[in-house]
């Protein structure tokens, strides 16, 4: 009964995404709060969350908007932060590439950290899954998190103006991003990338138009790639 198993994979995706409620929930609230503080109107931030649907890129754009960076720099930096979803899309392709074009377009929109990491783990675990089962699982991982992301933005926006200054919300973004980066530092190459990018970002802080961010990010990526090659040549498993 292929329909039944597809359905059960959808629910499995929903169930497995439950822990991410505690990540997406607070982050979406925070986006709503910070966007309100930056002066965005409700419909502006909802359009933002629904059309972009990428937390780290949204936060980056918001921060640079507040710093009055030039539009092109805001776009380039936020998209650079989001380059990793391109990686996700590439690594989902062997599993979902056979789906019809419009389905792949919907998959593309919903490709985020949690749907990607859950799905690839599941596909590797159960190689016998059919295409429709894989799609059902993928959409299951988004069925709770995506609506949560939109409503969280809304709730954060409503709460936003009522939060007193003593909560030091100015520092919520750095803490949120560093908390995301910590678990990503899986290998010495990742640590090298982060370290180089921090040093270069601090040295380049006076470069105009916030270009320092792109310079530092590129330097960090090159450092990571070099470190990876070096480690592999030394026989270290990455």
């Amino acid at each position: 009964m292929p329909r039944t198993t597809a359905k059960s994979y959808f629910w499995k995706g929903c169930r497995n995404s439950l822990p991410f409620i505690f990540v997406a929930g607070p982050f979406s609230l925070l986006f709503g709060v910070l966007a309100t503080e930056a002066g965005l109107k409700l419909y502006e931030m909802l359009t933002f969350s629904a059309s972009v649907y990428a937390g780290s890129a949204q936060f980056t754009a918001l921060q640079l908007l507040r710093e009055d960076a030039p539009t092109m720099i805001i776009l380039a930096s936020s998209l650079a932060v989001n380059l990793r979803v391109g990686m996700y899309s590439a690594s989902l392709t062997p599993y979902l590439g056979a789906a019809p074009l419009w389905t792949r377009a919907i998959v593309a929109y919903f490709t985020v950290d949690q749907s990607y990491s859950l799905s690839v783990a599941q596909y590797e675990l159960a190689p016998e899954m059919t295409l429709s089962e894989r799609l059902a699982y993928f959409f299951g991982t988004n069925a709770i998190i995506a609506p949560l992301w939109y409503t969280g933005t809304l709730v954060g926006a409503i709460l936003g103006t009522g939060i007193p200054e003593s909560f030091a919300l100015d520092f919520a973004l750095p803490i949120a991003f560093l908390a995301m980066v910590g678990p990503m530092l899986r290998t010495p190459a990742h640590i090298a990338a982060a370290f180089v990018s921090i040093v270069v970002a601090l040295l380049c802080v006076s470069i105009p138009y916030n270009l320092g961010l792109l310079v530092a990010g590129t330097a960090g990526m090159m450092a990571g790639a070099r470190a990876e090659q070096f480690l592999i040549s030394r026989g270290v498993k990455i």
């Binding site: 933002f48 649907y53 539009t71 989001n82 520092f171 530092l185 790639a225």
Partner: protein, 118 residues
């Protein structure tokens, strides 16, 4: 000065909409490029090797100046914020748990802000 609509912090509304639209299209293009267009043709290894490090390079680069020269203190380096940043990163690295990292960072920040304030 008053003929363009500006938000509370000064950027123009038109800038905001260009950013939203550009990011929406750009993010979708990034996500669609591989699964929609490239398909399962292999990508050059050097490109993949660099892409693997985008997140760990871009996010710290964005945050580092905000940690060292926080806007809330007028750009003066601030012990509670630096300590909170260090604790967040360290706890995230050790526990691999985003929420634990956020919690530890927030506790550090509030505790030190309270102590420094007294």
């Amino acid at each position: 000065m008053n003929d363009v609509a500006t938000s509370a912090t000064g950027f123009e509304t038109s800038t905001l909409w260009i950013v939203i639209l550009g990011l929406a299209l750009g993010s979708f293009a990034l996500r669609f490029f591989f699964i929609g267009i490239v398909g399962d043709r292999p990508l050059p290894e050097w490109l993949l090797r660099h892409l693997r490090y985008t997140a760990v390079a871009m996010l710290p680069a964005l945050v580092a100046p905000l940690v060292v020269w926080p806007s809330a203190t007028g750009g003066e380096p601030d012990l509670p914020r630096m300590a909170a940043a260090a604790v967040t990163l360290a706890v995230g690295y050790v526990t691999k748990n985003v929420l634990m990292a956020i919690g530890s960072g927030a506790v550090t920040l509030y505790a030190l802000l309270y102590l420094v304030g007294v």
